[in-house]
Subunit: 158 residues, 2 copies
């Protein structure tokens, strides 16, 4: 039986994050020691590693919740898990496409900045005048839009 600190160390998740996962019901309530401290066994360890790994891949906590409940029913079809993973892949691809466009534009801005005065600065200029910029709106369909952020991937280590 591990204390929360050891578990966090082992799984590469910070202690408050583990408590947070329990609080939102992503992890089951832990057993407690006589002194009211959380104790974890092998099962909790595996589940936390699963969560950590899925977060690393950019899955939302909601998606992970779904995946966990799926993995509790090993006899069902894995179509649902597949769908979740495919959706995640689609999101990543869309973020990727957008980031590539951003990179191109930032590079243009930076390269063209001759190091002169602000008044001539290409960076400020491009930001000020949309028509100077390559992509004509960068507009992303509304449905995809909320998905542009990658959930920050929990800086490894406890």
């Amino acid at each position: 039986m591990l204390t929360i600190g050891k578990l966090g160390e082992a799984a590469g998740v910070k202690v408050p994050t583990i408590r947070y996962y329990e609080q939102i019901g992503l992890l089951p309530e832990a057993e407690r020691s006589s002194g009211n401290q959380r104790l974890y066994g092998r099962r909790a360890m595996e589940q936390l590693a699963f969560i950590r790994h899925a977060r690393d891949l950019g899955f939302t906590l909601e998606a992970i919740r779904d995946l966990l409940s799926l993995s509790d029913r090993p006899d069902q079809s894995c179509a649902a898990a597949d769908a979740i993973a495919r959706a995640q892949l689609a999101e990543v691809e869309s973020r990727l496409a957008r980031l590539i466009a951003l990179k191109a534009e930032l590079e243009r801005m930076v390269v063209q900045c001759a190091g002169g005065r602000i008044a001539d600065c290409r960076v400020i200029e491009v930001l000020s005048d949309h028509s100077l910029c390559a992509h004509d709106h960068l507009s992303v369909p509304k449905s995809v839009d909320a998905s542009l952020a990658l959930p920050a991937s929990t800086s490894s280590s406890n």
Copy 2:
């Protein structure tokens, strides 16, 4: 003079977002009509477009605040603006590298999912067992870590 709704429409920014920008001091306080409604002129329009565009490129509000104050002093060197843009480019590049790795792994997961039972599901399996996965930790140095999210880019339209 435009009302807030027209301004938002013109700049592609939602009305509450404009008020939010004013609240946090990113936009100056707007003039008011006799009936206490905000009125905007050409200057505000340009500034909002600048902000919108910079947000599209993934700059944080803090970075934008800096860029705006720079653009108010056109005689200064543009080295600072250049530095901000370069930092942003570096961030985008790091997110990009990571997303590419994620995409590869998700593709592997999805392709290998044969559509059978959960018990054999490659998706669940890979998530459960870190050793099955290609990247050996995906660990990002702490300093870069907070920067993985792209700030969601304000879904165009008002």
